[in-house]
Point group: C2
Chain length 198, copies 2
């Protein structure tokens, strides 16, 4: 590594990347408000195009879990039921309404997103990048994440997002890993398979 | 934070999230092969649906930079010209060909992606999440990242990806921050604006 620049410590590399795993079971230990705060406080600093920050997060505690479970695929229901906290990660197709706040030096920025199709594309792409930040931020807060795609997105949007217009993308079970929380680590693509030099 | 679980150190939080910034200028100091290796070695461990890992990376050094620059928007050309390394982040619409390697316990997994439209959607979504991992991995390797969306994607795909079919999503200038590398930090959405409780 280059002298003079900090690099991530071996311990932090393990926590976020090399030793971190997707949890399939959780203990009863709750997720604290402080941890929820920390997840967002880190996630929000990751870069997005024009600082648009389209990611939205709905936290579903146990008292509202049944409303979520009925839209979750059968094979995923048990772990989503047992997780202390479930986050519905979504994007806001009307993120551009916040551009005067988050991109204040360019007063016309909002008008560049008048076209709803282009706006939705930008929202989905940038919120997906933010999902990457979010999942690593869950780990940074000392928690395990279980991202899950098997759910009825239209059903969840109707159930939870009629007032906001948010669109769900991913469920994330969050908590402390329980018994037999991990499957075996699956193989990763080799460097040569994923990275090329022009 | 919960006793017994590791959390990310304050120093690492600063390096990856709270103090990290998008660089707009770079020094001449090159990016080492070791750093390039490290970026991928961390990125690859982030979770994707069915371990599909659709992200692909094309590294463009100075000797091939002109081929890239002609597809880059005017306002972005100077920084892309000066960066020691530029990565074109793309997805592989035929990622499913690798599922027998990366998801070996489910022999029929590849067949679930016979529909090219659904496959492309999955590839774009999961590769976008991996972009989040990649940008934080650049920082973990002691480098600054400058993600950039202003380019002609079809032109770049024709220039570089005719043989692979990869589709470009984002350019990332990579190197050591130069003079006046940062703009002022832009405002982030407040917790209450982005996070709700069901």
């Amino acid at each position: 590594m280059t002298p003079g620049m900090n690099t991530l410590s071996a311990e932090a590399q393990q926590l976020l990347f090399t030793e971190a795993r997707t949890a399939n079971t959780f203990t009863d230990e709750p997720v604290s408000d402080e941890q929820v705060e920390k997840i967002y406080e880190l996630t929000k600093f990751g870069p997005t195009a024009m600082n648009m920050q389209p990611l939205r997060v709905l936290l579903v505690h146990h008292d509202q879990r049944d409303r979520l479970l009925k839209h979750v695929a059968d094979g995923n229901r048990d772990k989503t039921e047992s997780a202390p906290l479930v986050a519905v990660l979504a994007y806001d197709p009307d993120f551009h309404e916040h551009l005067p706040q988050v991109f204040p030096h360019a007063p016309g920025a909002k008008d560049r997103f008048a076209d709803p199709v282009a706006r939705e594309h930008a929202a989905r792409f940038n919120a997906s990048i933010q999902i990457g930040y979010f999942l690593l931020a869950v780990r940074a807060a000392g928690l395990a994440a279980g991202p899950m795609g098997g759910f009825d997105a239209a059903g969840i949007d109707e159930e939870f997002f009629e007032d906001t217009g948010w669109r769900s993308m991913l469920l994330v079970n969050i908590g402390h890993p329980g018994e037999n929380a991990w499957f075996d680590r699956l193989p990763r693509l080799e460097h040569e398979q994923a990275v090329r030099v022009a």
